[in-house]
Symmetry: C2
Subunit: 396 residues, 2 copies
């Protein structure tokens, strides 16, 4: 596929990220109520009046998602006709003048652990064992996160307070990021009824970039035996536009060869990964870059595993992929790996060094799929870390 | 306090569980739509027409909870006037003719681990270590569960399929219960703003009995390093009536003496546990009985810890206490403990033995606070285990 032209001229720039080929879904405001919109070039099309009547009234994409894959395809075709070259010009909103909001209400948030290099690095750093956990090659390991703490890109985040060890309380001293993809579940399933990988793929509506901010010291002290909790519960940031599966169809790639055969319920016929170039930035400086094809399990495999015991999935569930790291340090997707838990602080162009995030640092994830003369962009996933709140008197 | 008399004569029976002193909140139907109601004796009062206009229109208690503690107190006083001895007789619905539904929409579900004896037993059974995890006396350990799989008492549950070990797939072979209390969060908090234990206590609306059904083999294979996932995601059952904090006020008890001092943010001035007698039944046979005062951390302490890093709490969050076990085997709150992971199968009156749940078994939790001539009852939390579903072709 090549660039599809729009009457919105900025969309035809090969580096736009939001050409007619993309058409990602977000929620924006310009002073008044939050409205559903579609990114096109450097503009936004307000979708009020398009699609089924009243479907966007709630100011998010959940009701639309619940209509299912046929309605998703029909609406994409409608948008295509409205925005293609030669169609009637309509009023648009400049992205530069809009405030972005959460594109959907997160029903539940699950975070997986499908980055093999990351799992190996974390094992070596935290547990001194170079190998993977015994179950890792068999199970798309995941844990339930906290949906209420998912925020849209651009939201400032206070450094969390918490327990740093036995009797130690205070602001997190090892604040980190995790470079992930987020899959948005657009169709639910019934309790007691597992879904296959193929069905799971159909249920996925689209993808966002996801930064699973992590308090490594809080996590390290709390996580045995029941897993991460407050170390992951203060914030998870997502990019503002849901890039639909339809826009990414040409960029599908297979999962890597299996070290051990997967159980039949996890076998995948259709390629479930996507060729998406990803990068991590501190301020204006690029710290690392990798690709979403580094994942060992696809979102569809994760979703199938999620339901295998009968757990019902909901419209608006968000699945984090797990931190994406490649084999070389330039491809690491967390500061924990980049600084090797502070043993090897890295240098910035300013001459400063970093092991973990300092107050005032802005961390940004970027991602796009590179087509022939066009890009499918996600929009930045960014956040600035503010100092910890003043410790309340009752916590002193 | 003694029995407060109602014109509903069955409520004045000392063993009713639903006297005027209680007034717990549920959702019921009798063929048509689900409606909010209050249990009184063996009857239900439909609350349509009471309270603020339209507050029960959604068919659950979430909107009412969101009104906050002052409104909770005002409505309880209104119900009191309507149901007290001498008040005008109104039409009621017999509990025996009603179907009960989820009393509230669960926003997010968190399960804690505050039963000390249970934690010690599980450590000994699973990890061969008699002691508690290093963090246990410092942190009310918890993990995020799956809200979508919380079901009301009486819901049948299929034995889950899942991974039982490397390359092993099939129906769970070690299906278990966990005897817990569930705290219902009725007031939310803002992101980045921790709440104190005293504030957390104010935010709790009421309590239910909670059975955290557990697939021990699936859990054992999956839980390192990110905690329980599919082993806990197929179903969690709750009793149908939310017993308000107001009804339990006279039954408050302090948490046990601390082995090590807690950090200030977890210190509790008001007694946060409740004297609630609890029992586990298989069919009509009692397997064990204990008391909610066996917990080491209160729900208010758990909620304060939940928010300490800034995680926002939502109206409708459900917090499981953790499995409640006393020191004697007759007080154990799971079959894993009662049969010591199958090493010591226990006998039933029928002559059968059990290590874990067999298909067709019905497990029931019961609980009440014993007052002077009255009881604050919860209603049974019961569920029958059905055989696993036929394994889909794609999973063979």
């Amino acid at each position: 596929m090549s660039l599809l032209k729009s009457w919105v001229t900025s969309a035809n720039d090969p580096e736009s990220g939001f050409p007619l080929n993309n058409l990602p879904y977000g929620v924006f405001s310009t002073g008044g109520a939050a409205r559903c919109g579609v990114a096109i070039g450097d503009m936004i099309l307000d979708v009020a009046g398009l699609g089924p009547a009243g479907i966007f009234d709630a100011g998010n994409w959940n009701a639309f998602m619940a209509l299912g894959p046929k309605a998703w395809a029909a609406f994409r075709a409608e948008l295509f006709d409205v925005l293609k070259e030669g169609a009637a010009v309509r009023p648009l909103v400049a992205q530069a003048e809009a405030t972005m909001h959460m594109p959907f209400a997160v029903a539940e948030y699950t975070d997986f652990y499908a980055g093999r290099q990351h799992a190996e690095n974390m094992g070596e750093i935290l547990r001194g064992t170079k190998g993977l956990p015994a179950n890792w090659l068999h199970i798309p390991i995941g844990y339930n996160g906290r949906a209420s703490s998912v925020v849209v890109s651009g939201t400032d985040i206070h450094r969390p307070l918490g327990q740093l060890g036995a009797g130690r309380f205070g602001p997190c001293e090892k604040l980190d990021i995790e470079l992930e993809m987020g899959a948005v579940v657009g169709a639910g399933s019934r309790i007691g009824q597992p879904v296959s990988v193929a069905e799971a793929d159909e249920m996925i509506f689209g993808f966002v970039l996801l930064n699973d901010w992590s308090a490594r010291d809080i996590q390290g002290w709390e996580y045995q035996p029941l897993g991460p909790f407050q170390g992951k519960a203060f914030a998870t940031s997502i990019s503002p536009w849901i890039v639909t599966k339809a826009a990414l169809e040409d960029f599908r790639k297979p999962t890597p060869p299996r070290d051990v055969p997967l159980l039949p319920y996890l076998s995948e016929e259709q390629s479930g990964l996507y060729d998406i170039e990803l990068s991590v930035h501190m301020g204006s400086e690029k710290l690392s870059c990798t690709n979403a094809t580094r994942l060992y399990y696809s979102a569809a495999q994760q979703l199938a595993h999620h339901s295998i015991g009968g757990c019902p999935m909901r419209v608006g569930d968000l699945l984090g992929s797990g931190t994406i790291s490649g084999p070389a340090p330039e491809e690491f997707g967390s500061l924990m790996e980049l600084s090797w838990n502070g043993e090897k602080p890295f240098s910035l162009a300013s001459g400063e060094t970093r092991s973990f995030i300092e107050d005032g640092d802005t961390l940004t994830l970027k991602g796009h799929a590179q087509g022939d003369g066009f890009r499918i962009g996600f929009g930045d996933c960014t956040g600035t870390i503010l100092p910890a709140i003043h410790t309340p008197d009752w916590a002193k």
